[in-house]
C-alpha cells in the first residue's frame, strides 16, 4: 500500500493544501510571497502549454516568450485607459485608443493574436522534420523584440508600457491556470492528444493510421501559443510594467528549462517544475549579491543562479531524461477526477489513510530498530 494510492491523501496534498495557500495569498495580495505564488501560477500555464508542443507532440519550440509578449501587449492595449494610451502609444489607430474591454476578453484576444502569429511561423517551418522550429522560434523572439523596441509610436519603444491596472489577482491567475490545465488534460486524453503522442513516438506509423502530421503539429503549436499569450497578459498585469527586455531569449530559455526539469511529457511535471523553478532561484539569489558561508564572505557571483540551473539541467537530461515527473500525471489526475473530491465524504477513505499511515510508521520504526541492533 502506498500513500499515493489513497484518494484522501491526494485530496489533502494536491487540492486542500494548494487551495489554502492560494486563499492566504489571495487575501494578502501585495506581499512578496503572494507575488511569488502568483508567478508560480503563471509559470504553470506557460510550462504546461509548452509541454503540449515539446513533450506531447515531439516538436521543439523555444518561442514562448514571444507569444507572451504578444499577449501582454495586446492585453495592455485593450485595458489601458485612453489618456494613458495617448501619452505612451499615440500611434495606435483611433478606435483602438478609445477601446477598453473587460480584462478576460482582453486576455483571450491577446491569446488569439499569439495563436495567429504561431500559425504564420508554424506553417513554413512545421512541414519539415528536424528541429528547424527551435531556431525559427528563437528568430521569432528576436523579431518581436525588434518590433517592440523600435515601434515607438505603438509600443513606447524600449521604455516599455507602465502603469498597467492590477487586474491579475491571485484568483484570476489560478482560475486561468486551472482552466488551462483542465483543457490540456482533456486534450491529451482525447483522440486528438493520442494522435499527438503517436506522432511523437513514430511519425511513420502515425501517418499510416491516418494522422495528418502537418495539421496536428500546427494546431498543437497554435493552442500552445494561445495559452502563452494569455499567460503573457496575466504576467503584464501582475507586474504592471512590460517591455521588450522581459520577453527575450533568456525568459524563453527559463520556460524551456522548467519544462524539462519537471518532465516534458507530463502536465504534472509542469506543476512540479514551476514549483522548483519559481522558488529555487529565490534561494540562490543571495549568491549573486554575495553571502557568508561558514564565516567566509563569498564575492558577488553574477549569474551564479543561472549557472547552477544550467548545470542541473545537464545533469537531469543525462541521468533522468524524462524529467522529475516522467510520464506520471498524478497531480492532474487527482485535480480533475471526482474520486478525489468524493473521498472527503467517505468514512472508508479515512480508515484507509489511517491504516496506510500506521503501516508506514510501523515499517519505519522496525527499520530504525534493525539498524540499532
Amino acid at each position: 500500500m502506498r500513500l499515493r494510492d489513497s484518494n484522501l491523501f491526494r485530496f489533502i496534498i494536491f487540492v486542500l493544501i494548494p487551495l489554502i495557500v492560494i486563499i492566504i495569498c489571495g487575501f494578502s495580495s501585495g506581499s512578496y510571497y503572494a507575488g511569488l505564488v502568483n508567478l508560480f501560477g503563471i509559470n504553470v500555464i506557460l510550462v504546461a502549454s509548452l509541454n503540449l508542443v515539446n513533450g506531447f507532440s515531439g516538436m521543439f519550440s523555444m518561442g514562448h516568450a514571444a507569444f507572451m509578449a504578444i499577449g501582454a501587449y495586446a492585453a495592455a492595449i485593450l485595458t489601458l485607459p485612453a489618456n494613458q494610451k495617448l501619452i505612451s502609444m499615440p500611434g495606435l489607430p483611433e478606435w483602438l485608443i478609445y477601446m477598453r474591454l473587460p480584462y478576460p476578453v482582453a486576455l483571450i484576444i491577446g491569446g488569439i493574436l499569439a495563436a495567429f502569429v504561431a500559425l504564420l511561423i508554424g506553417f513554413p517551418v512545421l512541414r519539415f522534420k528536424g528541429h528547424y522550429l527551435s531556431v525559427a522560434t528563437i528568430g521569432l523572439i528576436v523579431i518581436v523584440r525588434a518590433v517592440l523596441d523600435n515601434e515607438d509610436e505603438l509600443t513606447n519603444g524600449a521604455r516599455g508600457v507602465t502603469g498597467l491596472p492590477n487586474y491579475a489577482s491571485t484568483w484570476t491567475i489560478f482560475g486561468a491556470a486551472v482552466i488551462c490545465l483542465f483543457i490540456l488534460y482533456r486534450l491529451i486524453r482525447s483522440s486528438y492528444g493520442r494522435g499527438l503522442t503517436a506522432m511523437r513516438d513514430d511519425y511513420v506509423a502515425a501517418q499510416t493510421i491516418g494522422i495528418n502530421l502537418t495539421t496536428k503539429k500546427i494546431s498543437a503549436f497554435c493552442i500552445s501559443a494561445f495559452m502563452a499569450g494569455v499567460a503573457g497578459g496575466l504576467w503584464g498585469h501582475m507586474q504592471s510594467v512590460i517591455s521588450g527586455k522581459f520577453f527575450y531569449i533568456d525568459a524563453s530559455f527559463k520556460i524551456v528549462e522548467t519544462s524539462i526539469i519537471g518532465g516534458m511529457s507530463s502536465l504534472s511535471g509542469a506543476v512540479v517544475g514551476s514549483l522548483l523553478m519559481t522558488f529555487i532561484p529565490e534561494l540562490l539569489a543571495p549568491l549573486e549579491t554575495g553571502i557568508e558561508v561558514f564565516g567566509i564572505r563569498l564575492p558577488e557571483l553574477y549569474g551564479a543562479s543561472n549557472l547552477i540551473m544550467a548545470a542541473l539541467l545537464i545533469v537531469i537530461i543525462i541521468f533522468r531524461r524524462q524529467g522529475i515527473m516522467g510520464y506520471s500525471e498524478i497531480i492532474t489526475e487527482s485535480l480533475f477526477s471526482a474520486k478525489t473530491y468524493s473521498s472527503v465524504l467517505k468514512k472508508s477513505e479515512y480508515k484507509k489513510l489511517c491504516d496506510i499511515v500506521a503501516h508506514k510508521i510501523k515499517e519505519l520504526s522496525s527499520r530504525v530498530k534493525s539498524k540499532g541492533a
Binding site: 528541429h131 527551435s134 528576436v142 549557472l307 545537464i314 537530461i317 531524461r321
Partner: protein
C-alpha cells in the same frame, strides 16, 4: 551614380560580415551534418575564444598570433569537453536530448563567462597592423578583412580536400549519410565526431577574433546571436554542404548589410530580425537550402 557606389560599398561590407558567418557556418554545418545537432553552444565557444585572446593580450602582453593559436587550442579543448560531458552520453537519446543539452551548455558558458569577467561590455582593439585601412578605389578594407576573405577560401579548399581525399574525410561523409550504418561498417564514429567538433570549435574561435575586430566591443552574450545566424546561413546554403555553408554565409552577410544600408533609417534596427525573416522565407520556398539535397548529403 552615387547610389550605385553606395550599393557597392554596402555589398563589400556585406562580404566582410558574410565571410565571418561563412567560417562559423562551416563548423556548424559539419557538426549538424553528422549528429543532426543544432549546437546552440557553438556561438559561445566563439565568445570563449575571444575572451581568451583579450586576457592573454591585455594581461600578459602576448603577441597576437600566439594568442590566436592559444585561443584556437582552448576553444577546441572546450568544444571537445562539452562533447564529452554533455553530448556523448546522449548519443543514443535522440535529437531532442542533445538539443536541450546544447542549450544548457550555452547558458552555462554564458553565465560562467559573466561570472568571471562581469557582464559589462569591454573594448577590443586589434593591433594597428591588422586594423590599418587600405583604400582601393572607393572601397575601404582593413588588413583583417583581407585576411578573413583569404581565410574563408583557404578553409573551404582545405576542408573540401580533407573531406574528399582523406580517410577521415571519407568516414565523415559516411557518418553524415548514416551514422548507424557507418558504425556497423567499423568506422570509429567517436573519432569522426571529435574531429568535427574540433574543426568547428577552432573555426569558431577564429571567427570570434574577426567579429570582435569588426565590432570593437565584446560581451559575454556576443556569440549567441551570430551563432544562430550562422546556423541560418548553413540552412540557407543547404545544411551539411560545405560550399553551401560558405555561400549561405556570404548571401546572409550581403543581404543583412544591404538591408541595413538601403532601407530607411527607421528599419536599420531590424537587421537581426530581417535575418530570421529571411530564414523563414527560405524554408517556405526551398526547405533544403540552395545547394542542399533532400537527404542532406555533403557535396
Amino acid at each position: 551614380m552615387d547610389g550605385f557606389i553606395y550599393f557597392l560599398i554596402q555589398s563589400v561590407n556585406g562580404l566582410k560580415l558574410g565571410s565571418v558567418y561563412a567560417i562559423v557556418a562551416v563548423g556548424y554545418s559539419m557538426v549538424y551534418g553528422i549528429l543532426r545537432l543544432i549546437n546552440f553552444a557553438h556561438g559561445d565557444i566563439m565568445t570563449v575564444g575571444v575572451y581568451t585572446i583579450l586576457v592573454l593580450m591585455t594581461a600578459f602582453g602576448v603577441p597576437l598570433w600566439v594568442t590566436v593559436l592559444l585561443s584556437v587550442v582552448i576553444a577546441i579543448a572546450v568544444g571537445l569537453a562539452t562533447e564529452r560531458i554533455a553530448y556523448r552520453p546522449l548519443r543514443t537519446a535522440g535529437e531532442e536530448a542533445t538539443l536541450i543539452s546544447s542549450l544548457a551548455v550555452s547558458i552555462f558558458m554564458q553565465n560562467l563567462i559573466m561570472m568571471i569577467f562581469s557582464p559589462q561590455r569591454r573594448a577590443f582593439h586589434l593591433p594597428e597592423y591588422l586594423s590599418r585601412l587600405h583604400t582601393i578605389g572607393f572601397i575601404k578594407l582593413s588588413t583583417m578583412n583581407i585576411i578573413t576573405f583569404a581565410a574563408v577560401f583557404i578553409i573551404l579548399i582545405v576542408l573540401s580536400l580533407v573531406i574528399k581525399k582523406t580517410r577521415i574525410g571519407m568516414a565523415m561523409r559516411a557518418c553524415s549519410d548514416n551514422l548507424n550504418a557507418s558504425k556497423l561498417m567499423g568506422i570509429n564514429i567517436n573519432a569522426v565526431i571529435v574531429t568535427a567538433f574540433a574543426i568547428g570549435s577552432g573555426l569558431a574561435a577564429l571567427s570570434g577574433l574577426m567579429l570582435a575586430g569588426e565590432y570593437k566591443t565584446i560581451d559575454p552574450l556576443m556569440g549567441f546571436v551570430p551563432g544562430l545566424k550562422a546556423f541560418c546561413a548553413a540552412v540557407l546554403g543547404g545544411i551539411g554542404s560545405l560550399s553551401g555553408a560558405v555561400l549561405g554565409g556570404f548571401i546572409l552577410g550581403i543581404a543583412e548589410m544591404l538591408f541595413a544600408g538601403l532601407m530607411p533609417t527607421d528599419f536599420t534596427a531590424y537587421r537581426d530580425a530581417f535575418v530570421f525573416v529571411l530564414l523563414i522565407l527560405v524554408l517556405l520556398v526551398r526547405p533544403y537550402g540552395i545547394l542542399g539535397s533532400k537527404e542532406g548529403g555533403r557535396s
